[in-house]
């Protein structure tokens, strides 16, 4: 009996045994927890504890804590407004959420004769976890064997090479280096090598993921020194995962979305899902703040809100507990200081349930440190605290002590959409026909994204065998010019063709007016200063938009033909200017 096992573990864990926790188990082995505890962290700890009990499929954690207040969501008023305005639409598939998963799925499904609408509550796509990601395309080595994550990570990583060519986004495989300083670790990695070479590792369950990971290399102390001369200390050796890749995550997201749009998919921004209506246990209508969309399939890629979307169709069998991750970006003066994302083995400051972070590199050459992993009750809590930066600095210090705190040009955070099993949930609903869960997509969600698209594509095809492929499917996408990457001759030619490329707006990153105009007029238009930043890099440099901010604002206003006072920093009500001074 699962219930007894759960009650047992709750009563035998001293820190929480004094709480009264309600436990109920459904026939498909979903445990629902209720009760009140002191601190939010305890809510999370209990959820994790129960999820680990053998046989538990997932955990719906309705425990509350006294230290935080979680607001109940009530969309009734907004639903009434939409129903009153009478706006109606129809399509085959609604995808909720235009993060990396939603965009990848949209692209995969755009091959078929399907009418697809992607709904995004924000003013831009990829604006949640996707944009605040470190851009690592993990080799798949660290994922827990046997999990869906592990499988899709390996597959996704492999797909990136071709995908980057098809969709013309920046992708590099610098590999990922772990170095060690103790003889014990040297031995440990020799053992790993032995297990790999002999194939014996397949007999040990916990080594299976490692056995499946391609491109592993063992480096001597000299080879480490040669590869990364700036690492701290004198590592005794290193372990190189050559398949590790890096991307700008939002660039991948835009590429996927633009290709989906080229193939007929529709993206609706600033569109929030308020409710989903069923008829006869099948998905029927999606009600948004704009319209009522009749459809046959709903794919839930709503990130941190995936559980709340699932609840709308009465199929919430998981709880998303937000986990904040903060990242710091180092000035480009350090370009080339590290060429491989690196970590040091044997540091005990790693946080639980994260791959621990370290020093990475962006495709543009900035060093990137982090991320942290902090449980939070607030799904919108994108703050960075002093403790986050202390952790990040400590991570960076482990890799090199030469890069100083004052070289950080920015730091930010995003929220991971973790469930209590800490695995991806990708499956057709067992209760509601036409509803597909794509939930719990946290790291390595970016690396897995192409494989997530592939998997959902199969689920959709299985549900409807009559779906046919488009004759005129466009499999590739071309990005607009990146002025900074061209030769002087090419730059000169481009300016002669279009003088707008002749004016630099962002001096730190060398971004031209032409590129900003391209961004504002992109298939998914960049309508805020931050959206322009992600598409063009204007404002990503060391002055952080101090110089180009007003100029970008002006271009957005001009291109969109809106007053300056209506331009926002990041959508919503994030206006930059209050009013005209002489109005």
């Amino acid at each position: 009996m699962i219930k007894n096992k759960v009650i047992n573990i709750l009563q035998n864990t001293s820190e929480i045994s004094h709480y009264e926790i309600g436990v109920s188990v459904s026939k498909d082995k979903i445990v629902t927890l209720t009760g009140i505890v002191e601190e939010w962290q305890e809510v999370v700890n209990i959820g994790h504890l129960v999820a680990k009990v053998k046989g538990v499929k997932n955990v719906v954690n309705d425990i509350t804590s006294k230290d935080v207040e979680i607001k109940e969501i009530n969309n009734d008023k907004e639903i009434a407004e939409t129903l009153a305005n009478g706006e109606k639409e129809q399509c085959d598939i609604v995808i909720i959420g235009a993060g990396i998963s939603g965009c990848s799925i949209a692209r995969s499904l755009s091959k078929y004769n399907l009418n697809i609408i992607v709904l995004e509550k924000n003013g831009d796509i990829g604006e949640e976890a996707t944009k605040a990601n470190n851009g690592n395309i993990h080799p798949g080595f660290l994922a827990k064997p046997g999990t869906l994550k592990a499988k899709l990570n390996l597959r996704g990583n492999k797909l990136y090479t071709e995908l980057s060519k098809d969709l013309d986004f920046e992708f590099k495989r610098p590999g990922s280096l772990v170095v060690f300083h103790s003889e014990k670790d040297v031995k440990k990695f020799k053992m790993l090598k032995f297990l790999k070479k002999t194939g014996l590792g397949y007999f040990i369950k916990s080594f299976r993921q490692y056995m499946k990971t391609p491109g592993l290399k063992w480096l001597s102390a000299e080879e480490v020194k040669q590869k990364e001369p700036n690492l701290r200390g004198n590592p005794l050796g290193g372990f190189l995962m050559t398949t590790m890749g890096i991307v700008e995550p939002f660039e991948v997201c835009y590429a996927l979305a633009e290709n989906a749009i080229a193939n007929g998919a529709t993206f609706k921004l600033n569109t929030k899902v308020l409710d989903i209506r069923k008829t006869n246990d099948a998905v029927h209508e999606v009600i948004t703040n704009k319209s009522v969309i009749t459809c046959e399939t709903v794919i839930n890629c709503a990130g941190v809100y995936a559980d709340e979307i699932a609840k709308m169709v009465d199929d919430k069998f998981y709880t998303i507990h937000p986990r904040r991750g903060a990242i710091a970006i180092i000035d480009k003066n350090r370009k080339g200081f590290l060429s491989t994302p690196s970590g040091v083995l044997g540091r005990s400051d790693r946080s639980h349930n994260s791959k621990g972070g370290g020093a990475s590199v962006t495709p543009e050459g900035n060093l990137l440190w982090g991320p942290t992993a902090v449980e939070t009750h607030d799904k919108e809590d994108k703050s960075v605290e002093a403790s986050d930066l202390d952790y990040i600095l400590n991570l960076g210090q482990g890799v090199t002590d030469q890069v100083k705190k004052n070289e950080i040009i920015t730091f930010f955070s995003g929220i991971r959409a973790a469930d209590y099993k800490e695995d991806f949930i990708i499956e057709a609903s067992k209760k509601v026909r036409g509803f597909i869960h794509v939930a719990g997509i946290q790291s390595p969600g970016l690396a897995a994204a192409p494989a997530v698209g592939e998997m959902v594509e199969k689920i959709v095809l299985k549900q409807n065998r009559l779906i046919t492929k488009k004759d005129n499917y466009i499999s590739t996408r071309k990005r607009t010019p990146k002025f900074r990457d061209l030769s002087r001759e090419q730059q000169d030619k481009l300016i002669k063709e279009n003088p707008e490329y002749g004016r630099i707006i962002c001096r730190c990153e060398l971004i031209t007016e032409g590129e900003i105009i391209d961004a504002v007029n992109a298939p998914i238009p960049a309508t805020s200063i931050d959206a322009v930043k992600r598409r063009s890099r204007a404002g990503m440099g060391r002055c952080q938009g101090g110089f180009c901010g007003p100029r970008v604002l002006e271009i957005i206003a001009k291109e969109l033909k809106i007053p300056h006072t209506e331009v926002t920093l990041k959508g919503g009500d994030s206006y930059v200017l209050h009013k005209e001074s002489r109005s």
Binding site: N406, G546, G571, H578
Partner: protein
């Protein structure tokens, strides 16, 4: 690709660049060219509509725009080419300068000498390590000044200012005059960062409070700024627990310091002084690369534009001498170092044979002192001394040294500020 040959190219048409170009021309340089990224000359002065400029230089209080106009008018009497709306993208070590604009595309410039006059930039919220969310309504003082004075927009209704440097103080007054409610100026340090006259004219006159040893530690609001948390700090600048206070506001103005703009200096791999964060310069304001000069805030952030112009003139004259072959480029440098209570000295090194009658030294003190003597020493002997009633970190000290007093012993010069 357009190719241009010039004698001197001046990068930046702000106060330093203007003065440098004019001086280089006056000293007989044939072809002088200014590259200006904006559509008009004057640089940041054009958004400084307040007065207080030019007291040293012109003996009267001018607005920033008027100060710039004086130079622009003078420039127009000379045959100096100005490339507007043009930005330098790269300088190679052989002094080839790549610039670009809409009309000409990429321009390859071959100058015989270069004067770097790119000015400085503002420190950002990340560099001030302000925690919390990243909403709109957090802007640097210079950006706010641009929005209000140039573009004609008000970026908020209730403002908190972090940093009591001059720009912060000026903006406190400016925003008040525009009807923005300025809730206070917060300063991490235990003494103000700006000039005393600005504190009197911009805060005291408008009943705006300055909170010393207090800083903004956190911003609130995911979309638009809803407020900030301020807190007192101890003598080590650590936040004092329990002193946190929430202030509702929709605008946080950051006046947390200026940093010399040195992208191009770094491309050239010039020696950079860690104390000034600008290139090391000699008595001619020539950098570590022969024929490359630097002037104004690129070298160190000055508090008066008058000094910026002066250094522009030195660099302009230096470039002219360099072109005429009048500069000794081989003599060993004599270093000038920061002694007691001195945070940096510019220039950092001199060549005795290149000196003119007077050598101006620009420097700042680390901490406030009263009844002090500023001295320039050579071994044990003082070659220059002057009494100052009070010295403050925000107020740059300029001492003119009689160069005939410097001995031929080649011993380093040390600048000291001591209480007497």
């Amino acid at each position: 690709m357009k190719i241009i040959n010039v004698d001197v190219v001046v990068i930046g048409g702000g106060p330093a660049g203007l003065a440098a170009a004019i001086e280089a021309k006056k000293q007989g340089t044939k072809k002088v060219m200014i590259i200006e990224r904006d559509t008009s000359l004057g640089g940041i002065l054009q958004q400084c509509i307040h007065d207080g400029f030019g007291l040293h230089r012109f003996g009267k209080q001018l607005s920033g725009c008027e100060y710039a106009d004086n130079y622009i008018e003078e420039l127009n009497t000379y045959d100096i080419e100005v490339a507007y709306d043009t930005i330098v993208v790269e300088i190679l070590k052989d002094k080839t300068v790549y610039a670009m604009n809409k009309k000409d595309g990429i321009i390859e410039i071959h100058p015989k000498a270069i004067i770097l006059a790119m000015g400085c930039r503002e420190r950002t919220r990340s560099q001030a390590f302000i925690w919390g969310t990243r909403p709109s309504g957090v802007l640097t003082a210079g950006t706010v000044q641009r929005y209000i004075n140039i573009e004609g927009y008000l970026p908020g209704t209730k403002a908190v200012i972090l940093g009591s440097g001059d720009i912060g103080l000026i903006m406190a007054r400016r925003m008040t005059l525009e009807g923005i409610d300025v809730l206070g100026v917060y300063e991490l340090m235990d003494s103000p960062g700006g000039l005393s006259r600005n504190i009197a004219q911009c805060l005291v006159d408008y009943d705006i409070n300055m909170h010393l040893s207090t800083t903004v530690i956190k911003t609130h609001g995911n979309s638009k700024l809803t407020g900030v948390t301020v807190a007192k700090v101890d003598s080590n600048r650590n936040v004092i627990k329990g002193s946190e206070k929430y202030i509702e506001c929709d605008l946080l103005v950051l006046a947390v310091g200026l940093i010399p703009e040195n992208e191009l200096s770094n491309q050239l791999e010039l020696d950079i002084d860690p104390l000034t964060r600008g290139p090391v310069v000699d008595d001619q304001f020539m950098t570590s690369m022969d024929g490359v000069f630097a002037a104004g805030n690129v070298v160190t952030v000055f508090d008066l534009v008058d000094y910026v112009s002066l250094t522009g003139e030195i660099a302009g004259a230096g470039a002219a001498k360099y072109l005429k072959g009048e500069l000794n480029l081989t003599e060993e440098y004599l270093p000038i170092t920061s002694g007691e209570n001195v945070s940096f000295v510019v220039p950092q090194k001199i060549r005795l044979t290149n000196l003119t009658e007077e050598l101006p030294l620009y420097f700042r003190v680390r901490k406030k002192q009263e009844k002090t003597e500023v001295s320039v020493c050579e071994s044990d002997s003082k070659i220059h001394k002057k009494r100052h009633r009070v010295v403050l970190p925000p107020e740059m000290i300029v001492e003119k040294i009689k160069t005939n007093l410097i001995s031929e012993n080649k011993t380093p010069l040390i600048v000291n500020v001591k209480e007497v």
